[in-house]
Subunit: 133 residues, 2 copies
Amino acid sequence: MQLMHSTDIALRTLIYLGQKQDSATIQEVADAFGIAKTHLMKVVMTLVAANLLSSERGRNGGIRLALDAKQISVGEVIRLMETNLALVVCMKEDVGNDICPLLPRCRLKKVLSKAQDAFFSSLNQSTLADILN
Amino acid sequence: MQLMHSTDIALRTLIYLGQKQDSATIQEVADAFGIAKTHLMKVVMTLVAANLLSSERGRNGGIRLALDAKQISVGEVIRLMETNLALVVCMKEDVGNDICPLLPRCRLKKVLSKAQDAFFSSLNQSTLADILN
């Protein structure tokens, strides 16, 4: 049970900027975590597109939080970044009901979905501000 | 956010045997899910060691549930099979507190651990019998 590496980086980038309370260059954040700048850039693009980060060009340019830390839900960040929320194969949307011999007499998907909802309900109660405090 | 393939197979093996209400050979279960017999054998060994399955040798041998389906907690099966519950890097037990520049002013681990507890609390309320019904 792991989150994607991109999700981990997204969370840490938001925390880094929240702690700094100022803008930072992508190179600075990449160096802080020892990760590839190209990888971080992809993550930053997703966060900018979701209006969680703003990006400024120029000499004093960089990235910064686009919202107050209290307005950034941890659950929303994770949902945004996790491109595959199918805990097991049969939870994938493109998997038909005819693929598994256990169906239709199997409620595994239902039980796991309920647990995943509990996971996100818990995360939705926390914001970036809670992580920073 | 995904569970390991071995966890998926463990759950489906238990469901298969619960639906069949009888023993099955490892080959039969492997064929049902189109997976390698060697991979399934490793999963079965873990489930037998945890007293969730019993294994019988001989002509009519095979594997069967060692407990009533009502006694098999879905949460316990998933905890047993998931060898890595570190959602992000800093949740790994062997990672020291000095690895991340965000520390000690970061509560990410705490927020994620709480959500993971909510995930397992939900799963602990369900047994194999709930999946079969």
